[in-house]
Symmetry: C2
Subunit: 80 residues, 2 copies
């Protein structure tokens, strides 16, 4: 099974990387870009595990390793 975990800053946290990307795009003439937020994506391959167990461990590993729950939020989806 392949699971995609998306990690991004909470909305209340400043995102300087995203701001820098937005400014670069404006400089290049893409004025319609009103905001950019940058985050991380993890594609996790899991073997020999039931769907129920996957639904249990993904939030666990996201909170422990993939994301910093103080400043980041995460969502995840099963790809295949």
């Amino acid at each position: 099974m392949k699971v995609r975990v998306l990690v991004s800053f909470k909305d209340s946290v400043l995102d300087p990387q995203g701001q820098t990307v937005k400014n670069a795009l404006h400089t290049l003439g893409y004025k319609n870009i009103s905001d950019v937020r940058q985050g991380k994506v993890f594609e996790v391959d899991i073997t020999d595990m039931s769907d129920a167990d996957i639904e249990k461990i993904i939030p666990e590993i996201s909170n422990k390793v993939l994301a910093n729950p103080i400043i980041e939020k995460f969502t995840w989806e099963i790809l295949e």
Copy 2:
């Protein structure tokens, strides 16, 4: 409109960050994790632009700014 662009290393490119995360998860006892690949995600807000124009500029800005097309690939989806 909000567009999500996912950027990750091409399959032929080593991903040391992903390997480090995998090793950390193994150390914590999550032995069923067989692979982890890490990438970047950008959530781009676009105002006053037609769907056709969005479909044109997203690959443009991805190749120019968001991704390095030599070593990275990207996919994108319109969220809303």
